[in-house]
Symmetry: none
Subunit: 221 residues, 2 copies
DNA sequence: TGGATATGTTAAGATTTTGTTAAGATATTT
DNA sequence: AAATATCTTAACAAAATCTTAACATATCCA
């Protein structure tokens, strides 16, 4: 089921929404201040993000803008008490997909969320993926690190893309083999390790966002 | 920048779209009923037209049909609240290029518009295509490199045209075979490779804008 | 601590993919 | 029908990439 992130500091509202969405079968996660929410959203992929406008430590608009700049494609719904046209327009401008004014009925939220997610699902796959300063352009098979082109082989490219798409998750060697090689090797192939090594080498020998998960496989934090 | 015409009678929606598109740098014009919209569209050229289905004085379908009959080639996106397959099909049938259901997110509209305009600009009925110092004249099947005529065979011509229209994208052998040969070969034909080789040879043996994307196919950078 | 297990690192050679050439097949023109 | 042009195939050469295997190093757990 779809993963939803609620970024809302008012506990009463947050609890209500979380309860409701869980009842509807969504996989719900919450953050209670702006920065925490931003970190969560940029680390893990959520199908949708419910984003309060007024938040401690980092406001909704900034979070939205920053996420979009990083290539985040979650369906973002802004929650706010401010019902004026100005902030509504500004919200859209910064990349929100929908906008809902407090107080709202749970039914309305659910309906909009459902509609949004449906649209999301049908909308085309993103061509450009961004992970910090790494940019992946799928249609041309190009990768840039801080705007400098990095030449990757096909397997490296596929591996990196898969890691970025599933960022935050630990991916087992078997999962990688199955999804990128097309079948699972008999247990103990070291192919993945070698490609990971080469990828680390090409991307940045010093950086350590490509973590080893001992006993499992690898993940991008 | 591209000129866009919005034909929409609901002021709130019209204002929102207009604001957004202007923010994105488009040159926006609006009409508030069907007949006014039709007159504007047939008098002035717009790169794209956002056309509401339900309008006073002349409905969207009729406008679309009439414009197409007159040879209008603007990129037409239909806006409608009616989310049934029937009117969607009919919309396309009458010559709409895309179709978007209300309520839609401005981001989605912007994305579709951008994609549509890009398609419009590069591929459609342009007779002369230019790629650096290479000029392709489709109607006469002539190719010039720095104003010097280069004689290409038909397949070479088609291949080059396809590459130029889709420049930047890596094109798989299968995609090329399907689109230029009309069917996909059983996996491992080398026809494409040979034509690419000849094309490189004729265009400029030294230049390397026609890149090999190992494991995939070819692309023009 | 020290052996066991997992991962990092390297490089050779196996494999796959593409470049290149030319001959034969097919289509077009004379 | 012959001549010509174009396309496709096949074969070998060249290059890039992938995989394996081996050793080094790190981490875990008794």
């Amino acid at each position: 089921m779809a993963k939803i992130l609620i970024i809302e500091d008012e506990k009463s509202i947050q609890r209500l929404i979380e309860y409701d969405l869980k009842q509807l079968g969504y996989d719900v996660d919450s953050a209670f201040d702006g920065y925490e929410g931003y970190k969560k959203a940029s680390k893990t992929f959520y199908d949708a993000i419910l984003l309060d406008l007024m938040l401690p430590s980092m406001n909704g608009m900034d979070i939205c803008k920053k996420l979009r700049t990083e290539g985040n494609i979650s369906y973002i719904i802004m929650l706010t008490a401010v019902d004026d046209e100005y902030s509504k327009i500004q919200g859209f401008d910064l990349g929100a997909d929908d906008y809902i004014t407090k107080p709202f009925s749970p039914r309305e939220l659910a309906a909009r969320l459902k509609a949004g997610l449906r649209r999301q699902a049908s909308s085309t796959k993103k061509d450009v993926l961004q992970y910090y300063d790494i940019k992946i352009i799928r249609s041309s098979y190009e990768v840039y690190k801080a705007d400098i082109r990095i030449k990757l082989t096909l397997k490296e490219f596929e591996l990196l893309t898969y890691l970025v798409v599933n960022k935050g998750q630990a991916l087992s060697r078997n999962q990688l083999l199955t999804n990128l090689w097309g079948f699972s090797y008999d247990g103990d192939s070291r192919v993945v390790d070698v490609h990971i090594y080469n990828l680390r080498d090409k991307l940045d020998p010093k950086a350590d966002y490509l973590k080893t998960v001992r006993g499992i496989g690898y993940k991008l934090i």
